[in-house]
Every structure is written in structure tokens, then in C-alpha cells.
Point group: C2
């Protein structure tokens, strides 16, 4: 039944992935992230990517309440990444081009105590191929923000 | 009961607005947009703003199915705008600074036939002050994309 429901949800969403992608670093695919609420956005000019940072319900609640250092157990942060592209009509606007990957941080201070309280995972391309090169790849890049619970994102100001 | 529920939702979300903002151009405030799903993001370098483009359920379904020219009646698109700011740790990253405004397009080909099938509205600042300078302000800017049903946004590619 779970598989049937998943299939129906995928069909309803017009999602391209056939079936659920396999785990990344032993972490199961966080289904439904495409409909998660927004925590922030960003534009990296060093690798020309636009990003939206989404969260599951626990993460969004923590973000909106300013309780993010540390983030609570159960929070999942998703970073969805596209190459940037010039809008064809508004030349001073950068908009999403090719989808690059979706990467996630799963907070559980106990379960993931050996990787700074987070599970680190990434699924690459529209086919969502699991990234399996090791959490250290993620952790190395995030080390400058270890005092911000290893998270770059500051929740965007919202009314 | 509706008011109570709204109040509880606002409290639960940590939302700063006291009560529901008044209408903009006669259009009621689209409560709950802070939790809508993502359609795209953008970065405008002419006015230094980062944006996320969200949609209500009808809009997101249309976006994911590629049925956006025209968008279906009932679709609401929300553009959430922040000034861009350099991330303090990752200098080549632009992230949301001060919240500017949230603006919305409400599709109803019949109701809004005099404004190209869309209701145009904007709420300014964290206090969400209704914008009342007239839909023509919005329409003038959107005229270059009249053949794209007056919408700049192309739904971002998603798995």
C-alpha cells in the first residue's frame, strides 16, 4: 500500500523519477521534499548556481521560531540546486537552468553523533542518483559554519 | 472559527503580522502563502533582490504538469522578495537580506478579464501593508511576457 501511495503521489506530482531512489550514505530518500516550505534561497556566483533551501515541518517550525542553533532532532533541511541562467526577457534576472542536485541534512544528535549531529545525503540529477562519496565531502565544506550547527542557511525574514 | 483557526496558524508559524492584512487592489490577503511549495527562484541584479516564486496547490499542480500557458483559473502565484546580502562565511554566496514585499497574481480569466486574466496584488514590508497604486504598475512591467500569460516565471526543473 505504501508503494502504491508513493506511486500515485509521484504520478500526481508529475515527477520524473521512476520509483523511489535508493539511499545516500545509508539515508533513505526524503519523499515529498518538492512540496516542503521555504526557509531561504541563495545564489552562488562561484559555481553559478541558484538554490532554494526547504525544510520538513520540524525544520520549518524551528526556522520560523528562531530555534536553529542547534536545530531540533527530526529536522531535515533540503538544498535544491540549479545552474543559473539569464532570463530571456529580463536580462538582469538569473533564473533556474539545469537541475543539478538536491542535498539534505538530517538532524539527529544521537544517531548521527559521529558526523556532528547530522546525516548528510545528496541525490544527483533529475534521475536522483544517490551520492555515495562519503559524508566527509559535505562536512569539509560546512566546517566554516560549525558554530552555526554546521548550517550555512540563515532562515529568511518572513512576515 | 475561521478567525480562531487563522490566529492559531499565525501563532504556530511565528508570524509577525498582527491580524490579517487588508486587501490590495480589492483582493483579499492569501493567508498561508509562507508554506506554499516552490515553483522557481530568481536573482535580479538590477535591483539586488533575491526571490522565491511560490504557488498555491492549483498553481503548483499546473507548474509540475507543464500546463502554464494559460495558467488555470484558481492558480495563485506568489513572488517573495528580499534584498540580497553577501553571506558572512561564504563570500561568493548571496542570501536573503531585508524582506521587501510579497506580490501575487491571482488567475481568473473571467473575473479579471479587464486586467489580462489576472488579479494583481502586493503587500509591502514585514507589516504587509497593502499596495494600492493600481494594477497598471504591475501590468506595465509584465507586458514583455504577455505571450507567456503575463508571467515571467518558468517553473524550475524538478525530479
Amino acid at each position: 500500500m505504501k508503494t502504491l501511495c508513493t506511486t500515485l503521489l509521484l504520478l500526481a506530482g508529475g515527477v520524473a523519477v521512476a520509483g523511489t531512489p535508493g539511499p545516500s550514505h545509508g539515508i533513505a530518500y526524503p519523499e515529498g521534499w518538492q512540496n516542503w516550505a521555504t526557509i531561504a534561497v541563495s545564489h552562488r556566483t562561484d559555481n553559478n548556481t541558484l538554490r532554494t533551501i526547504l525544510g520538513n515541518n520540524i525544520a520549518v517550525k524551528a526556522a520560523r521560531e528562531g530555534k536553529t542553533n542547534p536545530w531540533p532532532d527530526g529536522a531535515i533541511l533540503g538544498k535544491v540546486v540549479w545552474k543559473d541562467a539569464q532570463h530571456e526577457t529580463w536580462q538582469a534576472a538569473q533564473a533556474p537552468g539545469k537541475f543539478v542536485h538536491a542535498e539534505f541534512m538530517f538532524k539527529d544528535a544521537t544517531k548521527y553523533k559521529n558526523t556532528h549531529g547530522w546525516g548528510w545525503a545528496r541525490w544527483v540529477g533529475l534521475e536522483q542518483t544517490p551520492f555515495e562519496k562519503g559524508a566527509q565531502v559535505c562536512i569539509s565544506c560546512h566546517t566554516p559554519v560549525k558554530n552555526n550547527d554546521w548550517v550555512f542557511t540563515h532562515p529568511a525574514s518572513l512576515p
